[in-house]
Amino acid sequence: MASTQSLKETMEPVAWMFQLITALFMVFFLGVHLILMHAYGLNNILIQAILNRLHNPWWKAFYIAFVISITYHGLNGLRGVILDLGVKKVKALNAAFWVVAIITIIYGVWLLFNI
Amino acid sequence: MEIHKADIIILGAGLAGLRAAISAAETNKNLKIAVVSKVFFLRSHSTAAEGGTAAVLYEGDSYDLHAYDTIKGSDYLADQDAVEIFVRTMPKEVLDLDHWGCPWSRLPDGRIAQRPFGGHSFPRATYAADRTGFHALHTLYERMLIYENIERFQEYFVTSIMIDNGTFTGLTAMNMKTGEYVIFQGKALIIAAGGLGRLYSFTTYSHTVTGDGAAMALRAGLPLEDMEFIQFHPTGLVPSGILITEGARGEGGYLLNKDGDRFMKKYAPQKMELAPRDVVSRSIMWEILEGRGYSGPWGPYVYLDLRHLGDEKIKERLPAIRDIAIKFNNINPKDEPIPVRPAAHYTMGGIQVGNDTMSPVKGIFASGEASCVSIHGANRLGSNSTAECLVFGDISGRNAALYVEKIQNIPDLNMDKVKEEENWLYKEPFKERGSESVATLRRELQNTMQEKVGIFRNEKDLTDALKIIKDLQKRFDNVYVEDKNMYYNTNLMTYFELRNLLEVAEVVVLGAIARKESRGAHYRTDYPKRDDVNWMKHTIAIKRAGKIELSYIPVRVTKWQPEERKY
């Protein structure tokens, strides 16, 4: 049960806010991504097309932001799901969340720079 | 066995009990206070009170006026000095509730709103929509949470009050969740265990109002006062008994008999449906007794007809009644009349206490409906009882706190008695013998009370009733509890409740037989007049050696001499 003495620090409000903000971002990112990849015919997903795009700094920024948003949103969502199962080790869970999120983001960004 | 010790033990957590707890805790922060209730505090019957709570708040009203209304309403049986304390303390109670968060209905300028109520000559019923008792109880409960010295015991069924050498020593109880035997030891007890409405088959009361407080007090040797006065509200919804407020008639509703007649014209040609409660209740019963009521599987009834008011007005003025009719009876009052019948509604009597709420036994206080101070006399006015709970709950809490401050140690319990009670509780109910069940006995008792000790009383019916009750008390020995599982054993709890009901029923009937006059709610067809010469006195009942003895004490009159009660 929630502590009554309270006033302890918690990441929850920030996490919640970001979950919703990234959700809105994602409508944009995912929208653009889906249209780009699927709606404009096969040309767009040919390797050359992808590589060309990734060399454009604007697109690069777009994809970095996308990776960060989606990773945060998805993993924080997963964190919530686990918390909702009555897991008591909130601190450990939060730590695990950050580790996985950072690794995923680093790998994702590294991918963007290396393909 | 669980043992709990506290300075003050409060039995009951309705408006009176919780108000007492807060007041005691505030008076002395170092006292340990235990509040015990057989239901979760918020489930207490007080939550059902609807209309309002009387207090003198504004210009135009006065303490004297409120006191006069109350005394006149009581048919001059109220103790007038107590009434004066009551009316003077009440405004503060309304303000306290305001400060603690009660969502009182408001005037446009932000002040607390009030409305008219039957028998009051000024609109002084302070209300929170039509859920006054509910909001007041929740506010008190929430406020109580602040005090760390109040310990809560919810769903503990108290079975007896222990008195040794004329001093309170403790309570025995059962933890309903586990079935365990529990002892409470303390320096003082405040009994706020409510009324006894479930003595009747047709009542506005909650199922859990079974006269436990009065019965335990009686067994412990405490005096009960004026128990024969039971108020009947004219319009209880059939079949459930849920209260249909006076407002329905106030807005112009008709009462109709089987022939479609507005029969009130025979009984009160001037005021018609808006005659005082006792008059209307009696009129409905006349109609029914003379065969002009409807009869249904759930007993006779007459109609409360709102159809002519039209949908608009019903929705605007009587939304709660509309809700109740639809939710509980599938009746939309715009299309169909509502079946009603008078229902047992309030117990004027109770444990005899002084204006300081102290009973004749050292260390025992009582307040609320379980007590008789008495401010209601023979008939209480609407909205005066929640008010009483607040005022005298407050007083009892404070006085109990002051009382225990002077006492060093918690008195010792008489362990023999404790063991004896335990034996009774855990062996007696489970002995396999006769075939009687709690339900059949209770039904017979309730029907008897309803038919013979109801609105109209007479010598023959009352003596018949007494015989039946005596017989039921004997048959109670043949009742056994089928349920052997001690976890939340409701079969066992209803068994205890039945025992209590049977005990208080006897007191009610004895008092009624003795009182050979008609006063307030007590109407004897064989003595239809009020008799101030012989009967302006309170009935006191005490149980000695298994027998109930009646005696009388005078009414305390200050300013207001008895006069004829005309409205």
Partner: protein, 130 residues
């Protein structure tokens, strides 16, 4: 309550409403599916690291009918999550909570239209041989 029972309750839709508990459960499941897909997607993109050849292979597999069908299913999942998610963003900021049921069905309708459009585009592209 053990974690197993918690999990069982978590998946239960007994007595729940489509625009309430069921929408919520679907939102979770779809969210988790997309998250899983995210990692699969990263894996797929890693194919690009080894140069064009393996990616080409990859592309032909992915463009085969069963995979396109899977893609369309994935779109469904994303569109549900997205449409319901937009509702939730508003709701959780306290907007439109009272008309929650209407809001839900409007978003569902919009989501469905989006999904059908995208499916149509993808399907024609596929059938037309792009």
């Amino acid at each position: 309550m053990g974690i197993k029972e918690a999990f069982k309750n978590w998946l239960s839709i007994k007595g729940r409403h489509i625009h309430g508990g069921i929408a919520y459960l679907f939102h979770r499941l779809t969210g988790l599916i997309i998250l899983l897909y995210l990692y699969v997607h990263f894996g797929a993109l890693s194919q690009l690291l080894n140069g064009g050849a393996s990616y080409k292979n990859f592309l032909t597999t992915v463009e085969s009918p069963p995979f396109v069908a899977l893609d369309i299913l994935l779109f469904f999942v994303i569109f549900y999550h997205g449409a319901n998610g937009i509702r939730l963003v508003f709701n959780e900021f306290g907007i439109g909570t009272k008309k929650n049921m209407l809001f839900f069905w409007v978003m569902m309708a919009l989501g469905l239209i989006g999904w059908i459009l995208l499916t149509y585009i993808v399907a024609t592209r596929f059938i037309g041989g792009g």
